[in-house]
């Protein structure tokens, strides 16, 4: 049990010439909820895609349950993904299927279970996220928070060992936000899974996670338990936790001299 479920070793990644991750090493221990935080566009989502095998690192290794994801063939990768669940930012529900069919989708695709059993399983998953009553609705009829809970039920349909959340708190009202936060924690513990949350919502994360990594400019710049983070003296983390506009992360995108730009010079 001591070997972490996911380990990234000196991972580098770039889209074309644009370096996204410069040198990342981190691990996600079994049974824990880990948050990966950082400003928008710092490569957090890319990390999840590396773990899920949708992108391959330029160098370094991504190990999931002891296997190097980048070296898996298609069939092995798909076998691995059956044990992973990923919650997309806006749920990514299949819009041509009802809520029930959305949750049933992975079960129907990957198991030979009888329709009665699938029915029971789907209702159990929906009950776990509090939306058993919404089984017959279509995704277009759901609010943002409800859609994400349905997507969560679909994500846990096959009882995955690893749950990945891409910005699960974005665009939710405070109540829905709290509900999702509690669900992430409860489901992780009930399933005996491990979870990675990619987010920039610091306050919600501090309440539910076991460990936090901060990423900036493609590197891990700080890490620690929620208590460490609250009491940190690190200027970057301080700026992030207290939502200050200026600090180590500058307010201005790099630009030429302001006065020159205004007086007609090249920007």
């Amino acid at each position: 049990m001591s070997e972490p479920l996911v380990r990234l070793e000196n991972v580098r990644f770039a889209y074309g010439e644009r370096a996204i991750l410069r040198d990342i090493s981190l691990s996600i221990p079994r049974g824990k909820v880990v948050a990966i935080m950082g400003g928008s566009g710092c490569g957090k989502t890319t990390l999840l895609r590396l773990i899920g095998g949708q992108e391959k690192a330029r160098s370094g290794r991504v190990l999931v349950d002891g296997q190097d994801v980048a070296r898996l063939g298609r069939d092995d990768l798909y076998a691995m993904r059956r044990r992973m669940g990923m919650l997309f930012q806006f749920g990514a529900l299949f819009t041509d299927m009802s809520v029930f069919d959305n949750v049933a989708f992975p079960l129907r695709e990957h198991t030979e279970l009888s329709p009665e059993l699938i029915n029971d399983l789907v209702l159990m998953k929906l009950h776990a996220v509090g939306l058993r009553g919404a089984a017959k609705l279509m995704p277009a009829e759901l609010s943002g928070g409800m859609a994400r809970r349905v997507a969560l039920a679909r994500t846990i349909a096959l009882d995955p060992m690893l749950l990945m959340y891409d910005e699960p708190f974005t665009g939710l009202d405070p109540i829905s936000l709290g509900v999702i936060g509690q669900l992430i924690r409860r489901l992780n513990d009930a399933l005996g899974a491990s979870s990675v949350i990619v987010t920039h919502d610091i306050q919600e994360s501090l309440q539910i996670v076991d460990y936090i990594y901060f990423i900036s400019e493609g590197r891990v710049v700080a890490e620690g338990t929620p208590d460490d983070i609250r009491n940190t003296s690190d200027p970057f983390v301080h700026q992030f936790v207290h939502a200050e506009a200026d600090g180590p992360v500058p307010f201005h995108y790099p630009a030429g001299d302001y006065a020159t730009a205004l007086t007609g010079g090249a920007a």
Binding site: G52, Q54, Y78, F90, A92, L93, T95, E109
Partner: protein, 259 residues
């Protein structure tokens, strides 16, 4: 001068690159087509959306094309005292050319654009990625059934278009103008050869079906995942399908009907 050359080169390279890409994609679709037939309900659903939903426009257009053919054909033929051959003219025009080509063009704008839009929007809303992360291949589950739905619908729609056109020609020629009923059908029967005319027409419509369906699913799958990207992809589907149909038609006609 050098700039123009460079642009021309880039255009050519881009074109060849895209052609290679679509060929690889075609191969992938064929490779992952198993599910479209083992889980037939997936394909039948697409047959309904591509085929059945296009019926109305195909039938109505076929009727009007037949009506026009009847009018124009009679107008020309009667100058040479050959108005009895109206049936032949209408049937050969439709079966050999107009049926497959016009039905193909209509099919591309009615069903092809819808398929591109649907797959494109699934891409925008990350549904394809989500499927892939659930270890379900989007090519097998989403693309291949839509491809086969189009491929199967197209020849059937072209046949219905031709039948409707012949009916339209008969309405104008026999019922409205008064060409001899017996001569209309007898001349048609004598002149239209099943192998030479009908089968070649069916082959054309099958080829158009593959071309339109492939372009439609490819443009959807390949689109830039934004609202603008989807709208461009739909435009490209209609334009490329139309060009492909007309160019392929010329090539096939020059092989098939050399007199």
């Amino acid at each position: 001068m050098l700039g123009v050359l460079r642009k021309l080169g880039a255009l050519a390279i881009n074109g060849v690159w895209r052609l290679g890409f679509i060929t690889r994609f075609f191969w992938m679709v064929l490779l992952y087509s198993g599910q479209s037939f083992t889980r037939l309900h997936l394909t039948i659903r697409e047959l309904y959306f591509s085929g059945v939903m296009s019926l109305l426009i195909i039938l109505v257009s076929g009727l009007f094309v037949g009506l026009v053919l009847g009018l124009q054909g009679y107008e020309t033929l009667q100058r040479y005292g050959a108005s009895d051959s109206l049936g032949t003219l209408v049937a050969l025009s439709l079966v050999r050319e107009l049926g497959p080509v016009v039905a193909g063009l209509l099919f591309a704008s009615r069903a092809g654009s819808a398929v591109t839009a649907e797959i494109g929007l699934m891409k925008v809303t990350e549904q394809l990625k989500a499927m892939d992360m659930m270890a379900v291949s989007p090519i097998a589950r989403v693309v291949a059934p839509r491809f086969w739905g189009g491929v199967i619908s197209m020849p059937l729609l072209a046949a219905l278009f031709s039948a409707m056109g012949v009916f339209g020609g008969w309405l104008i020629g026999v019922v409205a103008i008064g060409v001899d009923d017996g001569a209309f059908w007898a001349q048609m029967q004598a002149a239209v050869d099943f192998r030479y005319d009908v089968i070649n027409g069916v082959i054309k419509s099958c080829v158009f079906g593959v071309a339109v369906a492939l372009i439609a699913v490819f443009e959807g799958y390949d689109c830039v995942p934004t609202a603008e990207g989807v709208s461009r992809a739909i435009t490209r589907t209609v334009v490329s399908s139309a060009l492909a149909i007309l160019a392929l038609d010329f090539v096939m006609t020059s092989f098939m009907f050399r007199g």
